[in-house]
Symmetry: C2
């Protein structure tokens, strides 16, 4: 459970934005609450309530929970009015749990084909939360937090009245996917993968950055419009067309020049989140100095 | 450089089957040779020879090298007779390098659509090495090793007379890709990812194994025929149709039953190599006991 690593790193307010259903994970959550973590746990199913309640009872503490609402992504969360009211009442009826809020993740925005559509999904994301909170209020259940979350929608979902929290996780670095979606320009992408040219051939060259460095993401949920496996900085007409595990094959388009063997190549990856997870650490530029930073939760 | 981790773990004979071209990597290689590693380094370009020679000179030792031959994968390696002879003579003319052998990787076999084609690619893989060694012999250059390598071809490439070494890296575990290619049956796949059912919905359920656990591979180089993101053991009509980073969305096909929230699900991943790299460690079954093993080179 990554929450443990964050707690050990000094974080106290932690929201686990994912329904938890294994006895092991819930016991760890209870352990963190006992140690003083201000934890909020996602849920959307009766069975999770049963487990969380047992855990709360075992530590004689209340556990805060948030209900996941499905705003169109159809991964986790519920959307029917009856289900929302039923499950919220179940939590209220329990002694050990407190319904702190509701949340959603509009992950289907990664399939958006333009800013107009992105804006519409953002609006729907926020409105799904507001609608659910109204339904709950009518049933006598008041919640404090209405939490929306996705990087492409964050700017517009903030305009929906009633939303109290945003979780735009990718904004820390941004990446080629966000550039492809029109969320930001390339100059806002902070994370770079440095590759070295291993060898040069007719029509292509090979770098030492493959799927273990760049990830295979071509857009989180089937997004269109990304060319190759990352954006090569420098304006050359080069395209990372294939990835092996340790090597990237870069096509040199007609009329374009070749790099030298041993040359460094700077790449903005398609998906910064998986790259941060794959790497064993990273270097940060502070003014003129390079500093090695380690990442919370990396083994 | 992973070779360093293997050396520290006690391995002495190490073949780096990838052309090396960065000064940093080559200095590390030289350092390992100095410490007593029996290293062989892949190469296929003049510039790599220059760097390797400088390194050999700096440590006053010979460095063994192997020339990569392109047998049809078109990633690394060379195939023209003139180039092969020219670069081999260049190595011979150098004081610090020894041409120990030649090698190839028939990675395009992962695009094979049947065993007949796989067998043909295996034959071509072996014959490309034999042909290159004959060309070298005629030019007065004798090599010791003819090294072929890919898991799908290993059975048949061994039948080509002259091949001295196989590198079927995936055979340690096997995986759904090898099952899809007809190399082995599911019962030979040793690596399993254990997922937990987080929640159940109409027509789908969600597990806590996403792309960070299962990888996004759908076949190394565009292989057809894999259904979803891994094979779920147990014979249910379930398909891992989408992966988020931390979650897998499993489609429940019509007429099929649902698992319980909290239930464990056993999955044979599509690509065992990337799964081993993503995991922080693994459990091994020895008789009735489960033992935690750590992996060489993992941070």
């Amino acid at each position: 459970l990554e929450a443990e690593a964050f707690f050990q790193a000094g974080f106290r307010d932690i929201f686990i934005a994912c329904p938890q259903a294994s006895r092991g994970a819930i016991e760890k959550i209870a352990g963190l609450v006992e140690k003083g973590a201000e934890l909020i746990v996602g849920f959307d199913h009766h069975e999770q309530i049963v487990l969380l309640e047992q855990a709360a009872e075992a530590i004689s503490r209340r556990i805060s929970v948030r209900l996941e609402i499905d705003s169109g992504h159809h991964r986790c969360g519920i959307s029917s009015v009856e289900e929302i009211v039923k499950i919220a009442r179940e939590v209220r009826g329990s002694g050990g749990l407190e319904l702190e809020g509701i949340y959603t993740h509009a992950g289907h925005v990664y399939g958006s084909t333009g800013l107009e559509q992105t804006r519409r999904i953002a609006k729907e994301e926020g409105e799904a939360l507001v609608r659910a909170s109204r339904v709950l209020a009518e049933a006598g259940v008041r919640v404090r937090s209405l939490s929306a979350g996705s990087t492409p929608t964050h700017r517009w979902v903030a305009e929906v009245e009633g939303v109290t929290e945003l979780r735009p996780g990718n904004y820390v670095f941004f990446d080629a996917m966000q550039v492809g979606l029109g969320v930001v320009g390339l100059e806002r992408c902070a994370l770079r993968v440095m590759g070295t040219v291993l060898s040069v051939y007719e029509g292509r060259f090979v770098i030492d950055a493959g799927s273990k460095a760049l990830g295979l993401d071509k857009g989180a949920h089937g997004m269109e419009g990304l060319r190759g496996h990352g954006i090569m900085v420098g304006g050359h007409n080069w395209e990372i067309s294939r990835l092996s595990e340790e090597q990237g094959i870069v096509e040199v388009l007609p009329g374009e020049g070749y790099p030298k063997v041993g040359e460094s190549i700077e790449i903005v990856p398609n998906h910064a989140c998986v790259v941060a997870n794959l790497g064993g650490g990273m270097w940060m530029r502070r003014g003129e100095r390079m500093e090695r930073v380690s990442l919370v939760g990396r083994r």
